[in-house]
Each structure stands twice: as C-alpha cells, then as structure tokens.
Amino acid sequence: MNIPGDVLCGELLIRMFGNREIIIENHKGIHLYTSEEIIITCKHTMLRICGEKLLIQYFSGCDMKITGIIQSISYISKAELCC
C-alpha cells in the first residue's frame, strides 16, 4: 500500500510559491506569531518560518496560508523551543 504520509499519519503538508506564499496543511495551531517569525505546531514537531512582513492570509482548522517575504523554514523540536 502506497498511502501518502499526510493522510496516514497526519504529516505536515507544505506548498510554497516562491518566497512570497506558503500553504500549510495538517497543522495543530500556532505557537508564536509576529511579523518576522511564525512558529506552527505540528503533530510531531514544530515549523519555524522566518521572514519579513509575514501575514496569515487565512487560518482554519486544517490549513493556513502565509504571505510575506519568506527567508527560512526550519523544523525545531519542542525541547529546543524550551531552551
């Protein structure tokens, strides 16, 4: 069986359009939101988006769209966040 990870395990699904737009599915909410940094909670890890003039275009239970100038995307563990 070749079932995608996002369907089976609820893995994070990210779609990016250049460095201007990013659509994130299967998130669990936001942890931090400023105009320079957004930290999104996922099932197993956390996603950190850094950039300028970041704006959440829409925000619902299953997906969200972020616009702005995206500079970096990185995964961080919850332990790392506490430090």
């Binding site: 669990k28 909410g29 936001i30 942890h31 931090l32 939101y33 400023t34 105009s35 909670t41 970041l54 704006l55 959440i56 275009q57 829409y58 925000f59 619902s60 239970g61």
Partner: protein, 414 residues
Amino acid sequence: MLLRILRFILGYVKVEVFGFAPERLMNLIIKNEIVVWEVEYTEQGYCFFTGRKNLIKMKPYLQKTNMKLKVMERIGIPYIVKRNRKRVAFVLGFGIFLCGLYILSLFVWEVRIVGEDKLVADNLLERIEEKYVPLGTLKKNVNCNHLEESLRKEFEDISWISCELKGTGLTIYLEEGMAPQKAILKEKNGDIVAAKDATITKMITREGTPLVKVNQDVKKGDILISGTIYIYDDNNEILETSYIAADGDVYGVTKSDYEDYIDLTYYDKKHSDNAKEYITFYFGDYCITPYTPKMQDEKYDIYTEINKAKILNDFYLPFGYKKTKCTPYTLERKKYTEKEAAAILQERLNKKIKAFTEKGVEIIKNDVKIEQSGDKMIAKGTLTIKESIVSFKENSAIIHDKQEAEIGEENEHE
C-alpha cells in the same frame, strides 16, 4: 471574488484581540471551526477579520483565555441596513422610485418620425398615435414589422420605412417616392394604359404587345402596351390566349393647366415687444399651470415648446413641462405693388417647375402669363411637359374570369 461578495452580503467584522496569550485564543477558535482571515500582528495582539456571527461564538474562548476583543470595523449589508434604520422612508422612497421607473420603461412614451417631408411626417405621426401606437402602449404589444407593413399599405407615397423601438421611444425612419409601383406591376397581369391625354414621344416595350406608335395621340385610358398575348395556329385562328404583366416606358407630351393668384391687399402682423411667458407642467393628459399671465390684447401668437422628461437619449417619461410664449400683434393693412405680386407668383411658378424637374419631368413650353385683374394678380396658362404617361390596369378579361369563378364557387356551395 464570489467569497468576498458572500462575505459582504452576510456581514463581517475586523477585530483586535489583546491580552496574555493571543496564540492560545487563535488555536481555540480555529479548533471550533471559526474561520478567520488576514491575521495581522499588532503591538498589543492580533488583528483579523471574521464573520459577523462568529463574534458570539468567540465569547466563551475570550473568557477562557482572559483576552479582550475590540471591534475595529463593521462591514457588510446587515450593518448598512442597521446604520440606515432611521432612514427607512428614504430607502422606501428610493425603492418606489426605482419600481416606478421600471414600470414606466415598459411603455412607449414618444413617437418620432425621421423623414424628408415635414407635412407627410406630421400626418403620419398623427395617424400612428391615433390608430397604431397611442402614447402609453405596452412595448411588448408593438410589433415593428407589422407596423411597417400597415404603414406601407396605408401610405402609398412611402417607398422605404423602418421602425425602431429603443428605450421608451419609437422612431420611424421613412423615405418618400414612387418605388412600390414596380412591385405591383410584377405581381398582377394587365395592360399599360395612358394616364393622361398625350402625344407619344418615346416608347420602350419590355413585355407585352405595343398597340400605339410614336407621334400618335392617345387619350386617357387608352391601352398603350397590351398584356394579352394571342397564339395563332396554322389557320391563323386564335389557339391560345395568355395574360402577362405588360412592362415598358412610354413618354408623351401633355398639357398641364396652371392657375394661381394673389390678393394685392394683405394684412401684415406687427408683433409687439410685450411678449409674456408661462410654464405648464403635465403628466400624461393632466396639466397644471401655476401662473397664467393676463392677456389684454385680443390677438396674439402662441408658441409652445414641449420639453419631455427623459433619461439619457431614449428613455422618455410621460411627464415634463411646456413653455408657452404669447406675443401680441396688431394687423396692418398693406398693399403689394404690381412688381412685388408678380415676383411672388413667379417664385411660386418656379417652385412648381422645380418640383416637376426633380420628378424627371421635362418642361417643353411655358405659356403662363402673369396679369393684374382688379384687386388680384393672376398667373394663368398652360405648361407643356414631357413625362411618363404609364399607368397600370389589371386585365379586364382576367377580372371577368375571376368573377365568374367566384360565382361558380358560390353556386357549388349552395
């Protein structure tokens, strides 16, 4: 775009949430299926848009997270209605105005004629408003094609007509001429007969048997080109008779009597400067004149200018105002000199000759003489002209056959 329209119809708000943990509030509201959009970070917290009804749904979560909410902007139809609740009469009036405008747009309120001859145009306009399309007729009841056909039948002088229904106005474009006659010639079988007493000068036969020759004198009603063709057998006896529509051009010299006169004594109007104006408002057939000035003079000319209310170019309405100007005048008795009277009569004669020439009629001889007779100046004489003397007459034999056939049918029914 559709989503934006839907949001505008249902109403939405721009809110700012501030307090200890705005992220927690955000997570809570989205878990409970409250959709938010355009979430902005502000110094105090977050600023975002959400649906009108979501405000009530968000209340328990605000209490739970100890956050405060401030409504920044209210957008959408429900809020517009709420804001304008005190202006119900205005909104209602505007609605009634729009409905009235729509109802008025269903009728014809203006009939215009675009034609060459003003006199014919005026007669036609009167007839149309009387019989075919009275003002206030429902637009759906006006059939332009049917109207064109009816007018063409009724006014034979019209060679081309076109009706256009645009806005609340009916425009009739027309051209006058003798064009339809040829169509009649083709439809019926018959002879070409002389329309006037004449001496034939030129003759071209296209179809039929010519019965006259050039330089021959003919009288009104004489057959010029016969539409009856006889086929003879070897014994020179008529084998078969067939009828066709005779066709051809026959020109002849005819004499046309001309008589015109003018009284040497005439009355001239001397208008005074004391003209008075007043305005009348009308709605359909009802008129209201707020002020009518008193006219002391017995005789005065009335000039009325009707201004119909209209929206843009073609949306005429059944109301407006009339501007009336009354100019008093006195009659002054005057007398033409012989020269003046003769000049007027000559001018009239020239007009008549010009009208003949425009129709393609050639004036060969002009015997009209202008003379004074008592208190009148008379122009009298004969114009010798060269013109077409063609007139079509349905074959009498065919008519006779038709009548016999009809009588036969009636007898059979009995």
